[in-house]
Symmetry: C2
Subunit: 103 residues, 2 copies
DNA sequence: TCTAATTTGACTAATTTTGTCAAATGAAAT
DNA sequence: ATTTCATTTGACAAAATTAGTCAAATTAGA
């Protein structure tokens, strides 16, 4: 899993690698070019549906891209929080606890 | 850190322990009783400001309550996600990476 | 059973997110 | 240098989500 690249960077790199224009990919996503530009520069978040379509369009592994995307959503929640690191750890513990309970 | 109790349960337990009514606490928070009732039963999320006030009103350690609250917000983001667990782990790695970079 | 506390659900208000559009900027090619 | 096309920017609108009120229904204790 790439930990040193933002979702946006991954998307831009792959799009350019495939020689596609923002315009072309945006058309397939049915959104304005401006939004895709912003997504690639991490100025906007994509929606989950857009991520799924992008994986398809750019031949990226859907699950990997989704994990990347979700982890970014999580980090976004705590980005300005002093206690973010602690909260993440506690969230993991609670997640384990919940999973244990449901088995 | 309590891992087996929701924020709502913590709040309700402490409020009852102190013999306060929903009405009284809600008044201090400047919201309708109905909302506090829903927060305590995890039907609604509190805002960060409400959590801070509640820690004060109920004599709970602010940081602990905030960590509890933030971890719940994180879990909420991934509650319906198959890949939630993986995303959490990746978020932690990325968090570490970001912290390393900024030091 | 009376009374006060809590819960429920329908509704409104406020905020955030997602999107469009047009103008500005940048980059490549003559 | 000028043209042309891709990308970026920012102001704005639409849509969705979140936060709140209110009143009626339910629950719990004396």
């Amino acid at each position: 899993m790439k930990i040193d690249k933002s979702t946006g960077e991954i998307l831009r790199d792959k799009r350019e690698e495939k020689g596609l224009l923002l315009r072309q990919v945006a058309a397939k996503l049915d959104i304005d070019t401006a939004i895709l530009s912003k997504i690639e520069r991490s100025e906007r978040k994509a929606t989950k549906e857009q991520i799924i379509k992008l994986a398809e369009i750019l031949d990226l592994k859907e699950d990997d891209l989704l994990v990347q995307y979700l982890s970014e959503k999580i980090l976004y929640e705590i980005k300005d929080e002093e206690l973010g690191q602690k909260a993440l750890k506690v969230a993991e513990q609670r997640m384990k606890f919940i999973n244990k309970k449901n088995s």
